[in-house]
Symmetry: none
């Protein structure tokens, strides 16, 4: 698993940060992510991380003052990535293009993209999910990311389609919730609740989009 993760890419706070990770540091992070996501932060000992990383116990504390700092060095950058302004960054220009006059295309892209992202970064996200419950800082940071980078462009689009009469006249917040809830619900079911079930990912995604579309679409 660890070789699939491109830590260099994922763990940098912003894209400008030049993050130099020594090999040992990379090993430590890989090990920490693995074990944190298997057993939880509190049930993981630094000595176990050191062992799995193949470094001495003290080495961890050379790079991270405390165990908590190690956790945050994993989770914090991920928060930014999770809330990665899908719309804003990648689609903002295309979305109002003639090709996107039907928003199911937008939705489809969104779903596929997020699904791949979650699949690739599941251990990170498990840790984040668990620890956000006990570290309000994390929760706040994510919410702030959301309201700054996701919500505005999401809202803009919803209102756009509402004006065009394509989306039902719910409050924008509700629409966003319906959409996200359905997508996240599918992903969670797929990857956490029933990871061993046989799934036709494509079909299931299509059905989910269908469901959302009918649910919010102005008939």
């Amino acid at each position: 698993m660890s070789d699939e993760l491109n830590l260099q890419e994922i763990l940098q706070e912003t894209e400008n940060d030049t993050l130099k990770l020594t090999p040992k540091q990379t090993k430590i992070l890989e090990a920490a992510i693995e074990i944190f996501s298997e057993k939880g932060y509190n049930a993981t000992s630094t000595s176990e991380i050191a062992k799995r990383a193949g470094v001495a116990e003290g080495t961890i504390f050379r790079h991270y003052k405390t165990k908590k700092e190690l956790l945050f060095s994993i989770v914090t950058p991920m928060i930014t990535k999770v809330a990665l302004p899908v719309f804003a960054n990648k689609f903002v220009k295309e979305v109002f293009s003639p090709d996107y006059d039907r928003y199911d295309q937008l939705l489809r892209t969104l779903v596929y993209e997020r699904y791949q992202f979650v699949k690739k970064n599941l251990p990170f996200l498990k840790i984040m999910l668990q620890e956000m419950a006990f570290h309000p800082e994390l929760k706040e940071k994510l919410q702030q990311q959301f309201s700054q980078h996701v919500y505005p462009s999401f809202k803009e689009k919803v209102e756009h389609y509402q004006k065009e009469g394509q989306i039902r006249d719910y409050p924008v917040e509700s629409v966003i919730r319906f959409v996200m809830t359905s997508i996240i619900g599918m992903i969670v079911t797929r990857l956490l609740i029933l990871p061993d079930a046989e799934w036709d990912d494509e079909a299931e995604i299509e059905r989910t989009i269908d469901f959302i579309m009918y649910g919010i679409h102005q008939s």
Copy 2:
């Protein structure tokens, strides 16, 4: 908070169990539920539980052989309650009555009932959610409860309405997922993600039902 919880009622496995909790035991359970849900199982020390419960630390271990047994004595009964077969038990006779020929009534009752349940038992459920990630036994028990008590009657109803042409022709599993995902999504948003936001519960529930209805309804 603790006085709202009726432990006697909640913590008994089946309704026939005569569960005698001594006062001290009740105090211990209340304290444990509070702190587990605040900080998580692993971050909670038995000495802290004892202190908050106002008992000696040894007293905990008179009633629960290990800390884990204490956790399970809290979570296990809740699993049964969570999967409480709303349909089967309460509505099975009414649901096919003429009054329920429109299934939004069914849905409405389901949502209201589950919402109240979660609201009342939030600390329990937080603990359950967190710990299921690290105790496969718990996850398995919940899944088994679900497939035995929830899924069958849910499926029956969905198929009933599909035959009548009222529900779109998705796989039953997908329909169930859409419905549950939307309900759970609303509840989670309301109680965990934005507990401090101003919500019009009634209106939000109605909208959520609307969304589900349009989403799965055969137009």
Copy 3:
């Protein structure tokens, strides 16, 4: 095992003591002897004793103020019994009779009698042996018993036979040591070191007496 032990008989300090043991007390003693001898005094918990005795934890402390008092109530009477003045009490009159002019008869009786005693009371003796190492009171009491009741009559007999030229002219203490050491060595080998070996008890006892006889006998 417990039914073979006649606690009433064994556990009374002196023969005049009228020792009334309630049924519960007897159960407690039986259980304590069993477990002490299996696991040692320190590794035995009072709750385990209570459980095996079928009484409540508190009941033990109704009869014995402390766990140590329970131990001593088992070991102390046994000390008297162990040092039971074999010679003095039973044989003093016979030993100088014409039948005993050869002291091997004396020895033979001594060995048989002590062997049976040890065999019957092995658990007691194991406890005594173990705990004497850590409770000087016990060791002192045994030594005092020995020098008061065993040593004098033993000495008398040894000197008697030395005067008659039948026992070699070693210091009496040495003769006693040779004799006891050989007997105890045989018993310990038989019952503790090789309890599962096939032994011809009779033959082995005879050989041991032979060995002692040749060893101390004035040829």
Copy 4:
């Protein structure tokens, strides 16, 4: 006492083992041996060992995973040493030489050597003796050592002298038992039962050898 013990020498399993003991580890072992032998394994707390060793309690567990492992690291090597094949190693060549045609020389060396050994390692041996009663592994290991390294060469010599008509025609096992029992009996009396008595070690050893000789010697 502790400075008399050469732990490095004693605690190594075989002479090839390069046993590196850090100073702290040595302190821990010295303290453990002292207190174990004074109060017994179960009555000794790790915190007391730490205190007497002048280290933190945690340090003990850096070197020995459990308290039991600490015990075994003390007792196990001693088992080998106890069964040290005196005959085989040191005398095997000389014993059949003309000088040894009288086996009392052999016996004398054996007794002296073992006596010195016990005297020097008394704390170790006390611990071993006590704990063998509750740890069958230890007992089995000692018995195995005995039957592999002591018994064969002992037997060989006994049979040699029996063939020469110098040792009485008892079963070899009995002869060995008589000899060992008498030696051990003397040592135990001297060092454990009457450590404060005035003894003429030389004379007592000579007398014991005498006793054994007469006891087993074919007159």
